[in-house]
């Protein structure tokens, strides 16, 4: 059995094509049914904002190329006419296809390296296949292994660690200083576009409270109502700073609204044990740069947040080789299993044939032996057959050359088929008398 993959992803396919081949659940399951069910194949569809990928199986002896048919169905289901036929894409069969899925599940193929959403999307792909009835034994195992490898990559490497957006970098910085934000008070000064964005990013974060202030109070009230924050008067800035631990500033002021002197007063009023973190998102800056020198004050601006993000990106990239090793090991294990699958029917038939012969012989011996002796014979013959078949079974699974369909056919002929006697063959063909055929030894 072969596995192939056709991928239209952000690395090779332009966005205008990707957006037209993105599937929803209903279309996806219908597509899978039409692609796989008529041929009895197995198939999975992975559709995310960055990729549409089809993984499916072909019988071992089938040398046809399935991609034209996939593109035909894509055109039918997504009603798109590519400018070039076919559009830019990636395709692979066998080990490359398996490795590709494992890389995808591990976040190595993601636009944001190491992101974890893809794991959920792979699970969704399996659900769609279940619904379409195309998730057979191979595809199920392939996706389950991919998810397992994806989880292993994230638990054994730091590829998924560290914020990759300015907003999350600010929160990460806060956590690095305060440990957690659940006991910290947040103040957002300025409710323009950036202030609103900061509030939006704070929505799911547990804090001791969020306060908002703006020169125009109505605007602050509107945003506070949406985000469940408290409104404070702009004139109260100094007092609000005494209460706050994490401060986002993004006003349109042309001069710093938080001066060095104000900071010193605030610091003295706060006491020595409570640090304060300023995230100055404004340009020109809202906080006097010298205020960052005051003991217990951490002042970070947009450039600093960019440095956090780029350090995290660098760290994720450094983890890629370790993640690749895990992916390679996972793909190798799966491919071994897949290869062993090809010889399973032959091994099963071989065992059944031997077992049948054993049972026949036991039946003959039954009347001649007492219960105890018969039990010993039963156990001995069972073990004997097990030992005789162990090595050929293991070798068939292990050795690529032995998995050749011709060799498997030979094994079947040798052990499972009763070939006609040469004399009978000769008689049947009318080629002379039986005396010319050598005797059986």
């Amino acid at each position: 059995m072969r596995i192939y993959c056709l991928s239209l992803n952000h690395n090779c396919t332009p966005i205008d094509v990707r957006e037209r081949v993105a599937f929803d659940r209903d279309a996806g399951t219908a597509f899978l049914r039409e692609l796989c069910v008529p041929d009895g194949a197995e198939g999975v569809l992975l559709s995310t904002c960055n990729r549409t990928e089809i993984y499916a199986t072909l019988p071992a002896g089938d040398a046809s190329t399935p991609y034209e048919r996939v593109f035909e169905l894509l055109k039918k289901y997504r009603e798109f006419q590519p400018r070039s036929a076919p559009p830019n894409h990636w395709r692979g069969e066998g080990p490359p296809a398996v490795s590709h899925l494992f890389r995808v599940a591990s976040g190595l193929e993601s636009q944001v390296i190491g992101e974890s959403q893809i794991l959920g999307q792979v699970k969704t792909g399996l659900e769609w296949a279940d619904e379409a009835g195309t998730s057979g034994r191979v595809m199920r195992r392939l996706l389950e292994r991919a998810i397992r490898v994806g989880k292993r990559v994230r638990s054994e490497t730091t590829i998924g660690d560290g914020a990759l957006s300015h907003a999350y970098a600010a929160l990460e910085l806060g956590r690095k200083i305060f440990g957690g934000l659940d006991t910290k008070r947040v103040l957002v000064v300025g409710t323009g576009e950036i202030g609103a964005l900061a509030l939006e990013n704070l929505r799911g974060v547990a804090t001791a409270g969020i306060a908002v202030m703006n020169r125009t109070r109505e605007r602050a009230e509107a945003l506070a109502a949406i985000n469940g924050a408290e409104v404070r008067a702009f004139e109260e800035l100094e007092n609000a700073l005494i209460d706050a631990d994490l401060v986002f500033t993004s006003t349109g002021a042309t001069e710093p609204i938080i001066t060095l002197d104000m900071m010193k007063r605030v610091r003295a009023a706060r006491g020595g044990r409570r640090p304060i973190l300023f995230i100055d998102l404004a340009l020109p800056r809202d906080v006097d740069a010298r205020a960052g020198q005051v003991n217990g004050v951490y002042l970070k601006n947009l450039d600093d947040l960019a440095a956090v993000v780029s350090a995290n990106v660098r760290q994720r990239r450094e983890e890629i080789p370790r993640a690749e090793l895990i992916v390679a090991a996972g793909a190798g294990t799966f491919l071994e299993w897949l290869a062993a699958l090809a010889v399973e029917p032959a091994i099963r038939d071989l065992r059944a044939s031997f077992e049948h012969a054993r049972q026949e012989e036991l039946l003959l011996a039954r009347g001649k032996l007492d219960e105890e002796a018969f039990g010993v014979l039963d156990e001995t013959t069972r073990r004997l057959i097990g030992r005789l078949l162990h090595l050929p079974s293991a070798n068939l699974k292990r050795e690529d050359a032995l998995r050749d369909p011709e060799i498997l056919a030979l094994v079947r002929r040798l052990f499972l088929e009763e070939l006609p006697h040469p004399a009978a063959q000769a008689r049947g063909a009318g080629l002379g008398d039986a005396a010319s055929v050598p005797e059986e030894s």
Partner: protein
């Protein structure tokens, strides 16, 4: 205990400390480790074995088993590891293990070099319970100071990294400043408590036996250094507990105390703090 058993135990302990440090270093460098599940049992096993060895030696000598500076270093290695284990269990922070355990392993290694083949030291005076407690508390105190100093150094370094916007591997691997500060203050408080017991027993002994003639003159430098250390730790711990001392200032103070403790360990005479 026969010298052979002592040597074997010292050797085994040194190997265990090296393994602990190696595992902790892997965890620090790789961020996550497949051997994390083994780290805690290995840590507990090492501390237990070292404690058992110290108890045996203590029963043998009928005093706190720090008869030589090398035994003192081994005791410090044990106490630092035990303190770290207690902090790790409480705070669930493992990434800093390499720094504390690395220092403890260095102490144990240094101790092993001189203990191995040297034969066991024999107690010079008669067993004295107060002296044993005094020495025991002093070792725990010095170890607490060492652990606090290491956390202080980590705090100061992370603080500087954040201040200077250097968000490299060290920044990414360290726990938060709040957590480091907490570890720093806890270890400093433990060190202060233990040194208070040491100083208390020492002073009461001086007042009780002050007039009696001594076999050796008490060396003033280690005693003065210990007193200074105790005062500094007192300011740190009480300032943190009841005042506003915290953050980088507390961290710096414990780093200074750590430096003083290192000086004290270096200045130990062959027969310990009070030896010649």
């Amino acid at each position: 205990m026969s010298p052979l058993i002592i040597d074997a135990t010292v050797l085994l302990l040194t190997v265990l400390y090296a393994l602990l440090t190696d595992n902790a270093a892997r965890r620090y460098l790789a961020g996550k480790s497949r051997f994390d599940a083994l780290a805690r049992p290995l840590l507990i096993g090492t501390v237990s074995l070292h404690l058992f060895a110290l108890l045996l030696r203590g029963f043998e000598t009928r005093t706190c088993p720090v008869l030589t500076r090398w035994e003192a270093l081994s005791f410090v290695a044990f106490a630092m590891t035990a303190i770290y284990l207690a902090l790790e269990v409480r705070r669930k922070i493992r990434v800093t293990a390499v720094f504390v355990l690395g220092f403890a392993a260095a102490m144990q290694f240094l101790s092993a070099i001189f203990i191995l083949g040297g034969g066991p030291a024999e107690p010079t005076g008669s067993p004295d319970l107060a002296s044993s407690f005094h020495a025991f508390a002093a070792m725990i105190g010095l170890s607490g100071v060492a652990v606090a100093g290491i956390f202080g150094l980590l705090y100061v370094r992370l603080h500087q990294k954040i201040r200077r916007s250097k968000f490299g591997p060290f920044y990414q691997r360290m726990p938060s400043l709040e957590e480091l500060g907490d570890l720093n203050a806890s270890a400093a408080a433990l060190g202060f408590l233990a040194l208070s017991v040491t100083v208390g027993i020492g002073l009461s002994s001086m007042f009780t036996h002050g007039d009696e003639p001594r076999a050796v003159e008490l060396p003033w430098f280690p005693i003065a250094l210990t007193m200074a250390l105790w005062l500094l730790l007192g300011v740190c711990s009480l300032g943190h507990r009841f005042g506003k001392l915290g953050g980088a200032r507390l961290a710096w103070a414990t780093v200074v105390a750590f430096a003083a403790a290192c000086g004290l360990l270096v200045s130990l005479g062959p027969q310990g703090v009070h030896g010649t």
